[in-house]
């Protein structure tokens, strides 16, 4: 099951109360999943700024996973609702600009959904793996242009 | 006002008078109908009870034709056709995959399915005040039991009217000057397509409906569906032969009632082709005016 290769590179932005704890539960339950995801813990999905996602892609991430509390479960009442509204606009913008939608995945994973966390990570890892490295961004990274 | 017209097969056969009366009154009300060119059967009950896809495809063909002919809204007077078309519309809109499959079957593309009106929606759109304006005959002695049947307001949400206590047909009927009665079996089933194969059932069910309407004071039934009409009208003979004390009651299409209000004769409206022969307690004002 396990993928020895460190590719693809996947960054996850998760909230402390639900998804991070859900990942803890996956651990406590000894569920196995692919090791490509690197998680950055934030207090709330409301804290996840779209620039984080852009930066992750710029730095060469092949996929970005965003996850937090289900609607209604937010530890801070409404952070995830605000986040959701931003994401609606943001993911449509990225899609329009030609960033493959399948490289950015949003999910709700609660503190009790260790299994779902594993499923989400595995499915997303496989999806990104199938897509291959995010060449477009890698190429754009290397060039420096001066316009006349 | 121009609206696409989907008559449905019955309008050409057993329900010729429905079609005839509609065309007559729409002349008076200045509404143009454009028949969908080369429309075909919606599949009716027989299609959906045997093959879901067939039923969808047959309805979809007509919707696609209407769209292709530039129609934004279509009117299906037969409640059963209306229900088939409207249900198919909902299904095609909500299930993309199904839509693609049906598109390949019918070899037509479906993009913007027209708005579909049943006869009540249609007259709401035409404006019931138009009927009141052009009213010539006094129908106040008519006590109408509006019979919606199964398919006019069901399922829930297909229509703006309530699927349990509808009153939209009453609104139109009141505009003709007739009275309406409150009764219990507005939505009860008459047995529908079992008419020929299981006449026994249809006789029982229709009798229940007709009895209840009369018990609540009705002297005329108003229907919006050729199937209901044929069951309630034609089957009264069977009821009468089974229950000798049964009293018959005239069954009119909503369009025929409106026609009467607008001063058209029974013959002009095709009412003379009904099985139940009857006289209605109505007066024609026009004649009075002429004699006065």
């Amino acid at each position: 099951m396990e993928n020895k290769n460190q590719d693809p590179k996947i960054v996850a932005f998760v909230c402390n109360w639900c998804t991070y704890t859900g990942a803890d539960l996956a651990g406590t339950s000894r569920l196995k999943y692919q090791p490509n995801v690197r998680m950055i813990k934030l207090p709330c999905t409301g804290r996840i700024d779209p620039v984080f996602i852009i930066k992750a892609f710029e730095k060469g991430a092949d996929g970005v996973l965003v996850s937090g509390c289900h609607p209604g479960d937010c530890h801070y009442n409404a952070g995830n609702y605000h986040a959701r509204r931003r994401w609606i606009m943001f993911h449509k913008l990225l899609d329009y600009l030609g960033i493959d939608e399948s490289r950015l995945h949003f999910s709700w994973v609660s503190a009790s959904e260790g299994k779902k966390f594993v499923d989400v990570v595995n499915a997303f890892t496989n999806k990104v793996k199938a897509k291959g490295p995010f060449k477009k961004y890698e190429n754009i990274n290397k060039e420096f242009v001066i316009n006349g | 006002m121009q609206i696409g017209y989907y008559p449905g097969c019955s309008q050409e056969g057993t329900a010729k008078e429905y079609d005839k009366s509609l065309r007559e009154i729409l002349k008076i009300l200045n509404v143009d109908l454009t028949e969908i060119d080369d429309w075909s059967c919606c599949g009716a009950t027989s299609a959906h009870v045997t093959s879901h896809k067939l039923s969808l495809a047959l309805s979809a063909r007509n919707l696609a034709l209407a769209e292709k002919q530039g129609m934004k809204e279509i009117f299906a007077p037969c409640a059963a056709c209306y229900n088939r078309l409207a249900s198919s519309k909902t299904e095609l809109q909500n299930h993309q995959e199904q839509k693609y499959e049906i598109e390949t079957i019918i070899e037509e593309k479906i993009n913007n399915i027209p708005e579909i009106y049943n006869i009540v929606n249609f007259f709401q759109k035409v404006g019931k005040e138009k009927i009141t304006e052009k009213k010539k005959t006094d129908l106040k002695n008519l006590k109408a039991a509006c019979y919606y049947g199964c398919l006019l307001v069901r399922p829930n949400g297909i229509n703006t009217d309530d699927s349990e206590q509808p009153d939209s047909m009453e609104e139109i009927v009141k505009a003709t000057g007739a009275q309406t009665v409150d009764w219990n079996f507005k939505l009860e089933c008459c047995g529908a397509a079992h008419s020929i194969a299981r006449t026994d059932i249809v006789v029982d069910l229709s009798k229940k409906i007709l009895d209840d309407a009369q018990k609540h004071g009705a002297n005329v039934m108003i229907v919006a569906c050729p199937m209901c009409h044929s069951n309630l009208d034609m089957r009264q003979k069977n009821i009468k032969s089974k229950f000798s004390d049964y009293k018959v009651i005239p069954v009119l299409y909503l369009s025929e009632l409106i026609g009467l209000a607008l001063g058209l004769s029974k013959k002009e409206l095709g009412i003379d082709t009904h099985f139940i022969e009857f006289d209605l307690p109505i007066k024609n004002n026009v004649q009075e005016e002429v004699s006065a």
Partner: protein, 666 residues
């Protein structure tokens, strides 16, 4: 910065799949890391001592521990670091157990990931700032919202422990739905007989400030330090003068205009009224909607007859503010109404049951009033339409409950019991009467509950039919109820004289508004949400706000009372100390950069953003900027993400820290 890295083996839990020595060695090469070790149990005393010793020996000013989840031992390690003289917030945890060793099998892969995680933590700690926990005092006063049985119980418990309570009830009297009930299951003791003494106790309690006919308007502040604004609605009666003699009500010429809320619209009441004779306080209210004086200024009969000159037409709503430490929300429920199809509501209503078209198709609370000795029929069974004694009653359960089409998908929990009680009460009084109950499942979990239902069936002869009713219609003065007995598989038709619908318990229509006012979450039905369904069932996720009774979910009297006492206990736990400690994770505004668009204010769920005006040295107004009230901010960071110019930052999770983590990933 000098950083020490400490890798824990957690016995074999981490060590089995992560090569801890390799991790520690790799970490030693990270910039700023001056010390790096691994050890069997970092959380043990010797383990903690290793950290403390290293801090002292090497003058470390940053610590990264690679161990179990921060949710497990972050506090432990921060304390150890603090003990050694370093600010505890300069300690970060890399989660090598839950997120690495327990979820991966391959040692190389796991070790590589562990090294990555330690690197992020090192990058983050470099940018951490020394912080101080926030200390706040506690106001030892409780606000109870809602004066039903839950609110009464909670208020009495807290007050009897010696703490002050403010009890707010929106109706003119406390008592709630329980005061309307006839008897209670499963004991069949009289509801009012057990409730009214408690109502009086509340009224007379020296520690309870009772505010009826009042509503919570605004809640500011935070746990231990709420400032609550309460609207005391104008009764138009001076409560300091009124003696509750009732002369005004008797003389009020308007007797039939208003339907009695207490009698569930089965009777009428005067324009000046107390909801019911045992009302607490026994002070009337003028219903300005129907009172002739307020319509055209003509009548003032009540004013004339009042011997105490207590009628006060000009009285206006009053705003009171209260300093509060804990809030107990006990706003109760409403009954799904079948009166008519509710306009602009998602509730579709039951057209097939007649939408309240039929007078003798009533709901459970109406039945309670009919059955009650103090009710409109003095407890005799008479049907509303013609006052005749019903000889056949059909009870229908799950009307609006477990019905996602026309109601709600949840079970209202109490209907099985009260329907059995209703049928029983009826059979006890009308011996030759027939009672039928249509049910889907009988849910009678509870002490002596199932026995009670069985008694109704076995001893009192109530006929239970398993199936939902499809339709009710009137025929010859009878109500034809069409059902199906799904056990026998036969259709059932009953010609009943009366039908009682056990309609769903639903959240108060204004619950979501109240939730937003006080800042607690609510579910899609409008019920308030607890912070943890198992272990913290009476706490809301907002600190210091507790839940009691049916405002949380459908529940019966014993459950509500138990929950109220639990909420009271939680409030008293809070009052056990004089000061509270809070994490310093709060937002901070860069006033130079802030352009004052206040998007931060819009997204703040805690009203923690205030408007601050900036003046130059000459005192000229320059601009408006956002200002964070550190007492209110809970540290979610939504403001930070929303701010287009990043002029507001969340301490502990700054842009700089997160940037460093992202950069370290690749």
């Amino acid at each position: 910065m000098k950083i020490g890295v400490f890798i824990c083996h957690c016995g074999e839990n981490i060590g089995r799949t992560v090569d801890c020595a390799r991790v520690s060695k790799a970490a030693g090469f990270f910039p700023n890391v001056v010390h790096s070790v691994d050890y069997k149990y970092m959380c043990s005393d010797p383990g903690q001592n290793i950290i403390k010793q290293a801090i002292k020996d090497l003058q470390l000013d940053g610590v990264v521990v690679g161990s179990c989840s921060p949710h497990m031992h972050e506090k432990t390690f921060r304390k150890a670091v603090a003990d050694a003289g370093v600010n505890p917030f300069l300690c970060e945890i890399a989660n090598l157990r839950e997120h690495v060793s327990w979820v991966h099998d391959d040692m190389d892969v796991a070790t590589d990931k562990a090294i990555d995680l330690v690197r992020f933590a090192v990058e983050k700690v470099k940018r951490n700032a020394p912080l101080k926990t926030i200390q706040v005092p506690v106001t030892k006063r409780t606000l109870v919202i809602g004066g039903g049985i839950s609110g009464i119980q909670a208020a009495l418990d807290v007050a009897n422990a010696g703490y002050e309570v403010v009890l707010v009830e929106k109706e003119p009297s406390i008592g709630g739905h329980m005061s309307q009930l006839s008897e209670t299951f499963p004991t069949l003791d009289c509801s009012q007989c057990i409730l009214t003494p408690r109502m009086v106790e509340v009224y007379q309690h020296p520690k309870i400030k009772l505010l009826t006919y009042s509503e919570v308007e605004k809640v500011e502040g935070f746990i231990g330090n709420f400032k609550v604004t309460i609207r005391k609605k104008a009764r138009k009666v001076d409560d300091t003068k009124c003696t509750g003699c009732g002369d005004c009500m008797q003389k009020c010429p308007i007797k039939k205009k208003a339907l009695s809320e207490f009698d569930e619209n089965l009777t009428t009441r005067s324009a000046i009224y107390v909801p019911f004779p045992q009302a607490v306080p026994n002070i009337p209210v003028i219903d300005t909607e129907v009172c002739t004086y307020f319509k055209n200024g003509k009548c003032s009969m009540c004013k004339k007859v009042c011997g105490r000159d207590a009628i006060f037409f000009e009285q206006e709503d009053q705003m009171l503010t209260e300093e509060i430490g804990a809030i107990i929300v006990a706003t109760g429920y409403k009954l799904y109404t079948i009166d008519k199809k509710p306009k602009n509501s998602e509730i579709k209503g039951y057209g097939e049951y007649g939408y309240g078209k039929y007078k003798d198709v009533i709901d459970g609370l109406q039945f309670e009033r009919i059955a009650s000795a103090s009710g409109p029929t003095s407890g005799e069974f008479k049907r509303p339409s013609d006052g005749k004694e019903p000889k056949k009653i059909v009870f229908i359960q799950c009307v609006g409950s477990r019905d996602e089409s026309k109601g709600f998908s949840y079970c209202s929990k109490i209907c099985c019991m009260y329907t059995a009680k209703h049928a029983m009460l009826y059979k006890h009084k009308v011996h030759d009467g027939e009672a039928y109950v249509f049910y889907m499942d009988i849910r009678s979990g509870g002490k002596m509950y199932d026995e009670f239902v069985r008694r109704a069936i076995e001893e009192d002869g109530v006929k239970y039919i398993r199936g939902r009713v499809s339709r009710i219609y009137e025929e010859n003065g009878k109500y034809i109820v069409k059902g199906e007995d799904t056990l026998a598989g036969v259709p059932v038709e009953i010609d009943a004289d009366m039908v009682v619908l056990a309609t769903a318990m639903i959240a108060q229509p204004e619950a979501s508004k109240l939730a937003q006012t006080i800042g607690i979450p609510y579910d899609k039905y409008g019920y308030f949400v607890e912070v943890h369904p198992k272990l913290r069932p009476v706490e809301s996720s907002s600190g210091g706000i507790f839940l009691a009774g049916a405002c949380h979910s459908p529940r019966d009297i014993p459950d509500s009372v138990a929950m109220a006492s639990a909420a009271a206990a939680k409030a008293m736990v809070l009052f056990g100390s004089d000061m509270l400690e809070r994490e310093p994770t709060i937002a901070l505004v860069n006033e130079n950069l802030c352009a004052g668009c206040f998007y931060c204010k819009k997204v703040c769920a805690y009203n923690a953003i205030e408007v601050k005006q900036i003046f130059d040295r000459q005192g000229n107004f320059v601009k408006e900027v956002a200002y964070v009230n550190s007492g209110l901010c809970q540290g979610c960071g939504t403001c930070n993400a929303t701010c287009p110019s990043k002029s507001i930052e969340l301490i502990g999770y700054t842009d700089e820290q997160i940037y460093a983590e992202i950069a370290a990933l690749m």
